[in-house]
Amino acid sequence: MRRIPLPALAVSSLVLVATALVFVFYVAPNDQTLGFSQRIFYFHVSLAFTAYACFIGGAWNAFRHLWKRDPRADLESYVCVHQGLIFGAMVLLTGSIWAKISWGRWWVWSEDELVLFLVLYLFYCAYFMLRFSVDPGPQRANLSAVYALFGVILIPVSFAAIRLAKEFLHPRVFTLHGPNFGGWILVTYCIAQAAMLVLAYTLYRLELGGKRLDARLRDLREALA
């Protein structure tokens, strides 16, 4: 994966995102119950999956840092979490738009996934607060890695908690992401999902490369001074 050059990745994400947009707006059929506004789901769900993938990637790199002592893993973990947070913000945004269209309010507590993302968003924002209140070094890397691992364990636990909470918080609102998930809907979703994943990976590689370059520059400056 590391050998794929960044320009190739950038071009493929551009192509994929453009294709996804075309498919979402022109090719996919209108949903029977929700109509045109259902199309936001193609992005909302693929963004959500991508954000989860980023957080899990962050936790995987954190584990590699703690267990294998890989010197590159800490920065990779941080960039994964950063990308996850960006895509998570997009999930909250698209979810909010969908809630406004479906129920007339910008936020609804009855949507499990949105609430879960809110909790995760707060959790990973705290990750940033933690990371930037410790001076750079092995301790910061260790603390960030452990916290990222906690995050990935929190995902299923929070999801179970939110499901449990519905019994005493809100009546269950029936929402389903398209009962007929076949044909063009599936194709469009797959394209949108692939587009988001490639985009996330491109941004991840871009940010990682930039930060590594910064670190090298700093080292060179220190060596020359």
């Binding site: 909790v119 410790v134 301790q139 452990v146 929070s158 005493f168």
Partner: protein, 212 residues
């Protein structure tokens, strides 16, 4: 067996320190009482049993945060953290001992808080007490772990609530659910699962929090 002895020694140290200083526990007790009074004025009308249960859990959570913020203060002020880490014991014993000590303080605070709640608002029942005990284990385990992380940062007291509250969400769900639901067993089971899972993770990774 020496692990148990190490944990015992460390927990005894914390309990003795608190017994002599007597600052954290009275503060927690007064805080709980004051918070209940504020809650009474904060919600207009007569709150139902559902709403006051929410009060109780918010009060417990924030009282616990108060206590947890103070948990590593002796280590920080007298710089004994390095000594603890250099001691020939498993690092996770530090976490376990500190959690047990904090748990003792929290339970002691609740021994007063729960009757106070019953006096001010609504009577309590068995499932609520079970929920309190299970939730305390989770709060103290995770909170002590995060407190150790927060104490090495620059932000310290500011950071602990931020780190802790997202992780405390499942505890609140389990605890409130067990307190109000007709079938509390599910929620108590969930709390027990949370406690077990996070205690395991904290126990396994505490070494990385204190080591270089």
């Amino acid at each position: 067996m020496s692990y148990v002895r190490d944990v015992g020694a460390l927990a005894r140290k914390d309990l003795l320190l608190e017994l002599r200083a007597r600052d954290t526990l009275p503060a927690m007790l007064l805080f709980v009482a004051a918070v209940f009074v504020i809650f009474h004025f904060a919600l207009p009308g007569t709150p139902s049993r559902l709403e006051t249960t929410g009060f109780l859990w918010v009060a417990i959570l924030f009282t616990a945060l108060l206590g947890l913020g103070r948990a590593f203060v002796p280590e920080r002020e007298q710089r004994t953290f390095d000594g603890l880490v250099l001691a020939p014991c498993d690092r996770s014993a530090i976490w376990l001992a500190k959690s047990l000590a904090t748990l003792t303080f929290l339970v002691a605070a609740e021994v007063v808080a729960l009757p106070l709640y019953a006096l001010f608002f609504h009577p309590i029942h068995g499932a609520m007490v079970a929920a309190v005990l299970l939730a305390d284990v989770g709060i103290c385990g995770v909170g002590t772990f995060l407190g150790a992380m927060a104490v090495v940062t620059r932000a310290r007291d500011l950071l602990l609530p931020l780190l802790f509250l997202p992780l405390a969400m499942p505890i609140v769900v389990g605890a409130v659910g067990a307190s109000v639901s007709a079938s509390p067993g599910r929620y108590l089971g969930f709390l027990a699962l949370y406690d077990l899972l996070f205690a395991l993770v904290c126990w396994a990774t505490f070494e990385y929090v204190v080591a270089e």
